[in-house]
């Protein structure tokens, strides 16, 4: 038990100093009026009551949740498939793995330019491809109906390589023997996948799900760069509102309050995911 504490104390102590303490400071700030300059003035619950009446905030919450709901399953599916693909023993796998990882490391400035071009209604490549099938051009990022979905696609593309790595690591942890035994028993590849791979990857699924929740619910960079939250606010996420309040409107107190509400939502969803999955585990 002492060993356990020795093992975790560097991480614990460090995070208490450099992550938890700043969070407490932000919590304090959420009860103040603070522009970032000068001093913070305590105003009690004013920021929070403002949030309750802020329709823009709650529409953004719904929108952000919707974004998560779209991105997470697609991302998990795609990264799992990619991981399976590159887990085969064929030669040259490392090249393919690196290629699938490229979107993760392409800086946003380049990725956004390329995707803006892809999506362009007049000179974009996607519309060009669609025109080959006689489909009329789509205003991917410019129409309120399709803007968010277009960003979902870009986000899935960008994130798949990351989770592919995680799944790859997870796949290595499954014993070969299990597959061989099942094969001997006559199970098909698909059945082996369903009954062995998927269940044994459960801890990995949890990781991908929770980390995915945390990251998608906070997302703001893509929306900021690709559409600035438009058109007609259809891509305005909570993260974007927080950024604007903090740095554009110099309303750090309000931004902090919004962050904590968001944090609470994320925490609730994460805890639900954790316990739901755990119950499933126990049930099996």
């Amino acid at each position: 038990m002492l060993t356990a504490f020795i093992f975790i104390s560097p991480v614990l102590v460090y995070n208490i100093i450099f992550r938890i303490a700043p969070i407490f400071v932000s919590l304090y700030l959420s009860f103040t009026k603070f522009s970032g300059f000068g001093s913070a003035k305590l105003i009690g619950l004013v920021n929070y009551s403002r949030i309750f009446g802020d329709t823009q905030f709650w529409s953004a919450v719904l929108r952000t949740l919707q974004f998560s709901v779209e991105v997470l399953p697609l991302n998990m599916l795609l990264s799992l498939l990619l991981a399976l693909l590159v887990n085969t023993g064929l030669k040259g796998m490392s090249v393919f793995r690196a290629i699938y990882y490229l979107p993760v490391v392409t800086p946003m400035v380049a990725a956004s330019m390329i995707w803006l071009w892809l999506y362009d209604p007049q000179i974009g490549i996607l519309n060009f491809l669609l025109s080959l099938f006689n489909i009329p051009p789509q205003n991917f990022l410019r129409s309120p109906a399709t803007a968010m979905h277009s960003i979902v696609a870009m986000r899935v593309w960008r994130g798949a390589g990351w989770n592919m790595l995680i799944y790859l690591a997870g796949l290595q942890g499954i014993s070969r023997n299990l597959y061989e035994a099942a094969a001997i028993d006559g199970a098909s590849a698909f059945k082996r996948f369903l009954k062995i791979t998927l269940p044994l990857l459960r801890p990995v699924h949890i990781y991908v799900l929770i980390v995915g929740l945390i990251s998608t619910l906070q997302s703001f960079t893509e929306m900021y760069v690709m559409t600035s939250g438009g058109p007609l606010e259809s891509t305005t996420t909570v993260g974007l509102l927080i950024y604007r309040a903090a740095f554009d409107y110099m309303d750090m107190g309000y931004a902090s309050a919004m962050s904590f509400i968001l944090g609470l939502i994320i925490m609730t969803l994460s805890v639900v995911s954790f316990t739901w999955r755990r119950e499933k585990e126990v049930a099996e």
């Binding site: 356990a4 991480v11 380049a110 790595l165 044994l200 927080i242 750090m252």
Partner: protein
């Protein structure tokens, strides 16, 4: 592997490669095109003219090598710290029992749930007021603390909770019996870790190495805020040199971006070999 299956796999691999990789390859190819051809419509995949001008411009911009070096140092240090401490902590959370285990883990996880925009200033203040550093007295007053230092730059990346999380999940995959058997044999906890689980942890640690390096390498906001000395800037900040208020020097920017991606891919290639089928031959006899 059966021929047909192999063909199918190769086909899928290639399609995925086109979808995932073409933006990057288009950018890399474009970085070799002269400005006038960069945005020509219809776009050219095979450049009509080749030029290395953008690379010369990018690589000879002031401070480029310095920024590159800084990014490398910060990313490697972060990677090293995480490999050591996240695997220890992740292992403990996964396979050891101690009071408040779940509470502590949730506590750590919750630190990830507050968006960085609001913790930016408090964290910055903390780094600036680090006692006995950068001219600070014991109360952290008077100087600039860890600003403009490598230590300050690595602050958000080391002891990453995500790192602990992934190591924990990975270590949870192994059956209890594995630890039990070793304990029954009388081994000490630390040697159970170093002898059995550390080697087993190679795939997850490789993932951890890659993703810590990536996050540190790609970080833009924190280095912006923490450095004012141009000599401490990182590469992502360096890319800003090519951006103007409304436009950008896309030619050199693409060249610089391509160059900036290479080290991450290098780390990737180096560590991903640990993902090859290291089958877990069961330690339970």
């Amino acid at each position: 592997m059966k021929k047909l299956k192999r063909l199918r796999v190769i086909f899928l691999l290639l399609i995925a490669a086109v979808v995932m990789g073409s933006p990057f390859f288009w950018m890399a190819i474009s970085s070799l095109k002269p400005n006038a051809e960069l945005f020509s419509w219809p776009p050219t995949f095979v450049p009509r003219h080749l030029t290395l001008d953008h690379y010369t411009t990018a690589l000879t911009t002031r401070g480029f090598e310095r920024y590159f070096l800084n990014s490398a140092v910060v990313s490697l240090i972060s990677m090293a710290f995480n490999l050591v401490f996240c695997s220890l902590a992740g292992y403990a959370f996964a396979r050891l029992d101690f009071p408040l285990k779940n509470f502590l883990f949730l506590l750590l996880l919750s630190t990830m749930m507050i968006p960085v925009q609001v913790t930016l200033i408090p964290t910055f203040l903390m780094v600036k007021s680090f006692p006995l550093a950068g001219g600070n007295n014991i109360f952290g007053q008077g100087g600039t603390g860890l600003l403009n230092t490598y230590a300050g730059l690595v602050v958000p990346h080391i002891m990453s909770v995500f790192g602990v999380f992934i190591m924990r999940q990975f270590y949870m995959q192994f059956p209890r019996e594995l630890s039990e058997a070793a304990r029954i044999d009388g081994a000490r906890e630390i040697s159970i870790f170093t002898r059995i689980f550390l080697p087993l942890g190679k795939p997850a640690m490789s993932a951890l190495a890659i993703f810590t390096f990536t996050q540190a390498w790609d970080d833009f906001l924190w280095p912006l805020v923490v450095t004012s000395d141009r000599n401490m800037r990182t590469l992502q900040l360096g890319l800003e040199v090519f951006k103007n208020r409304y436009t950008a020097d896309w030619g050199p920017l693409m060249a610089a971006t391509t160059v900036s991606i290479l080290p991450v891919i290098l780390i990737f290639v180096v560590f991903q070999r640990y993902f090859t089928d290291t089958a877990l031959s069961s330690g339970i006899k």
